[in-house]
Structures are given as structure tokens and as C-alpha cells.
């Protein structure tokens, strides 16, 4: 009996020691005793798939084609995604260009109201402010780590005099050292940011 309890105590201590406490860091995938339907053979967003040759689950449309009658998924109440959010077309709304020239003014498809400007403010804070600063003066947190040249000041006369289309185009495709942001901001958000930027410039008295 005494021996039994001694061995039991040793076994318990050894098991608890080997298992470790809750919350301890470990790097091998979590243990699953019954992984019955946890990992089904289906493709989820951004996940690999061994079915396709290149190992990527996501498919790319065939070059030069546009899906016919395809509706983009719309979700997220309050955000209200619409077709206006996705760039696919060569009109002013989607490119900021009239022919080969940057256009002036905002596209007629968009309604300029307080909510639109508020959206622009929010997106500017998220996407642009790390580099260009909250006020647009080019002194964001990250600009300090940036070697050359100083991140552009968005409230000076040069950018103020740019047509709206050019600012939209710059966000979409980048310029010089600034990379493109078309992958992370929707078409409508890019125009909203442009509108908010106009507001910042006005506040700065330019």
C-alpha cells in the first residue's frame, strides 16, 4: 500500500511535470485525440491545397477574362460593400484617369457626405498615417526609420495642386518609393481618403 502510493505519487509528479502547466508555450501543433471532422477536405480562404498544381487554394481568373454575371460577395453590415468597392474597369472611377490625363474632381458615382469623409478619415488613419502622419505632414512614426527621401508632405502646395485623379492613382499604384495600396484599400475607400486629404489640406490653410 505504501509502495503503491509512493509509486502513484511519483507517476503523478512525473506526468504533471512532463505535461507542463496550462498556457505554457509550445511549438508543435496542438494535440487532437478525435480529429474527426476538424480538417475537412475543402479549400478555405488563404489556405494551401494539394489539389492544384501550384499548391495554392485560391484560383486566379484566366488572363484577360472577366467573370460574366458574377456578383462580388457583399457582407459586413454598416460597411455595406457594393460593386463600387472593386476595381474592374477603365473609367474614371476605377483609374483616376481620363484617357492619358489625371482627372480633376470626384467621380459622379460617389456621394460626398459626412459619412464618406468619416470613412476617409478612418482609412487615412489606418493606411496612410504610419508614414505620412496624422496631419499629413510626412512625419509619421515609420518615416523616422526611413532612410531616403523624407516621406512626402501631403499638405504642402505641391500635393494640394495635384488633381484628385492623380492622388487616387498614386494610392493605387504608388509613386517612387511609395508602394501601391490598391490591394489593401477598395476603390471607394481610395476616393474617400482623397476627399479626406483635401480636408486636411484645407485645415492646414493651404
Amino acid at each position: 500500500m505504501r509502495w503503491f502510493f509512493l509509486i502513484l505519487a511519483i507517476a503523478v509528479v512525473a506526468t504533471v511535470y512532463a505535461l507542463g502547466p496550462r498556457g505554457a508555450k509550445f511549438s508543435s501543433p496542438p494535440f487532437m485525440l478525435f480529429p474527426d471532422m476538424d480538417n475537412q477536405y475543402k479549400v478555405k480562404a488563404q489556405k494551401p491545397s494539394d489539389f492544384f498544381e501550384n499548391g495554392q487554394g485560391a484560383r486566379v481568373p484566366v488572363e484577360g477574362t472577366e467573370p460574366l454575371g458574377f456578383k462580388f460577395p457583399v457582407s459586413g453590415e454598416g460597411v455595406g460593400r457594393t460593386d463600387l468597392d472593386f476595381s474592374r474597369g477603365s473609367d474614371y472611377l476605377n483609374t483616376g484617369l481620363f484617357g492619358d490625363f489625371y482627372g480633376k474632381g470626384f467621380p459622379g458615382e460617389l456621394t460626398m457626405d459626412a459619412a464618406f469623409l468619416e470613412r476617409g478619415r478612418e482609412r487615412y488613419r489606418i493606411t496612410c498615417a504610419p508614414c505620412h502622419g496624422d496631419s499629413g505632414n510626412g512625419a509619421g512614426v515609420v518615416s523616422k526609420y526611413w532612410a531616403i527621401p523624407p516621406t512626402a508632405n501631403l499638405i504642402d502646395a505641391r500635393v494640394r495642386d495635384m488633381p484628385e485623379g492623380q492622388i487616387f492613382w498614386t494610392i493605387s499604384h504608388g509613386k517612387g518609393l511609395m508602394g501601391p495600396y490598391n490591394g489593401v484599400t477598395s476603390v471607394r475607400d481610395r476616393w474617400a481618403i482623397t476627399a479626406y486629404l483635401r480636408g486636411l489640406q484645407a485645415v492646414a490653410g493651404n
Binding site: K47, R125, I126, V142, P180
Partner: protein, 260 residues
């Protein structure tokens, strides 16, 4: 006859008198220990919390999201309008870590250069293969946008990511974890512009601005709302109950909401 019985009585020595009890005690003790250990460690609180896989690039959230103050949505751009919260494309990193920018030749960023730098000798053009940590089983449905647009912050389910040099699994994400909040969502709701501010505290909220917002949402005057709350403690519970009512939050508890 008597003698025979007497002899038989001696077949079992004295110590066997307690044998059955001893065996019971031992089996009981063993069983208790096994159950206790399983109770403690056979639960998502043990099997998942703390999962911290090695990533191809030692990406540091405490630097980017904490120190540099970048919003989660700079990288996790679709978290508000899709079920899936995406990881950033390599282009997003490249915009800051490209040639002539920040730490562009750091050895830690080797996989990024392989993915993006066409002039680099080891260029492959393949996406960076981040290791996924958080996962609901494929038979349960989870939607980020439903939560994030209803005032549930990232911190409720992912912990203080902005303080983690390496991301780890901070919450169990078990079914009981989901349901605990679905039963009392007011304990978690906060204004929509504070979703990605993981350090937010209810006390930081300005009462006047909050009542003005509620008035706009519900049509009741801000002063009336304020008067009705007199004497109540300003904190998470009060804010949560107001927001729940104003937004008509209904966190489902029926099985089909998550299993369909």
C-alpha cells in the same frame, strides 16, 4: 466438522481482511489521479493555449502594432467585411521593407525577398507560408465581420497581440468560450472605433460623447438617457448594456448558428 471449519478459516491470512478495501482505495486513488490530470490537461485550455509555432519570418506584433502603433487593419485588411481575417500579402510588408526602405537587407526578411525581389538570386515569387495558429474546426462556423462590426474587440479572442513579440494562442476558443460570451455579450461590447485599440478601458470613454452617440442611435434625448443612469457605476456593464440595446445585438446560442 468444527475442526474442518477452523482449518478453512486459516486459509486466508489476517492481512487479507482489509484487502478488498485496500484495492478499492488504490483503484480509487488511481482513478482520481487520472481524472484530475485529464481534467486539467485534456481541454482546449491546455491543448491550444500557448501554441506558438515558429514562423518563416520572426514578425513582431509588439513592434509593429505596439511600438509603431499600426492599426491591425493596416495588415488584416478584410477583418471588418469578411468571415476570414486575412494575413497580409507580401506586398504590404514590401511597401516598408523594400529596397532602400526599412531594414531591407535584414537576414530575418529573407523569405520576403524571395517572394518579392525579382532581382534577388533566390527569387521564387511564392507567397510566404505563415503557420496558422487559430483555427475553429471545419464543422463550426465563425465570422469575424459579425463580431468586429458589433463591438467585439480582437482582444477578447486573441489576447494582447500588440504586446506579443511572437503571436501565441492566448484564449481557448472552445465552444464553451464562445458561449460564455454569447450568453452575456454586454461584458465585451465597446464602441466601434475602439475595436483595434486592444488596451482600451471602459473608463477611457467620455460619458457625454457616448450619450450623444446613443441619442443619435436611439432617438431618445442624451440628457434623458443620462438622467436614467444616475447613480449607476460607469463601466463596462453599463456601456455594454446600452450598446447592446442600441445596436440590437443578438448573440445566437442555438446550435444551428454555429453548426450548419
Amino acid at each position: 466438522m468444527r475442526g474442518l471449519l477452523h482449518e478453512m478459516g486459516n486459509i486466508f491470512p489476517r492481512w487479507t481482511n482489509l484487502l478488498a478495501i485496500k484495492v478499492l482505495v488504490c483503484v480509487g486513488a488511481l482513478g482520481t489521479c487520472v481524472i484530475a490530470v485529464a481534467w486539467y490537461s485534456w481541454t482546449p485550455k491546455y491543448t491550444r493555449v500557448g501554441y506558438m509555432p515558429q514562423q518563416p519570418i520572426p514578425f513582431d506584433h509588439s513592434l509593429h502594432a505596439g511600438q509603431l502603433g499600426m492599426d491591425c487593419r493596416y495588415c488584416h485588411t478584410h477583418v471588418e467585411n469578411s468571415a476570414h481575417s486575412n494575413l497580409p500579402a507580401a506586398q504590404v510588408c514590401w511597401n516598408c521593407h523594400g529596397p532602400g526602405k526599412v531594414k531591407s537587407d535584414s537576414p530575418k526578411l529573407e523569405p520576403l525577398r524571395q517572394a518579392m525581389d525579382e532581382n534577388y538570386e533566390n527569387y521564387t515569387g511564392k507567397p510566404i507560408e505563415w503557420v496558422q495558429l487559430h483555427k475553429v474546426p471545419d464543422y463550426a462556423h465563425f465570422d469575424h465581420s459579425a463580431h468586429v462590426n458589433r463591438g467585439v474587440s480582437c482582444v477578447e479572442c486573441h489576447g494582447r497581440i500588440d504586446e506579443m513579440p511572437v503571436v501565441y494562442h492566448a484564449k481557448s476558443l472552445s465552444m464553451s468560450f464562445c458561449l460564455e460570451c454569447h450568453r452575456n455579450p454586454e461584458q465585451a461590447l465597446r464602441p466601434l472605433d475602439q475595436i483595434t485599440n486592444l488596451g482600451w478601458k471602459p473608463e477611457d470613454l467620455e460619458p457625454d460623447a457616448f450619450y450623444a452617440y446613443l441619442a443619435g442611435k436611439t432617438g431618445t434625448g442624451a440628457d434623458d438617457l443620462k438622467k436614467a443612469d444616475e447613480g449607476k457605476v460607469w463601466g463596462q456593464e453599463l456601456i455594454g448594456i446600452h450598446l447592446q440595446k442600441a445596436w440590437g445585438v443578438h448573440a445566437p446560442q442555438d446550435c444551428a448558428a454555429c453548426h450548419h
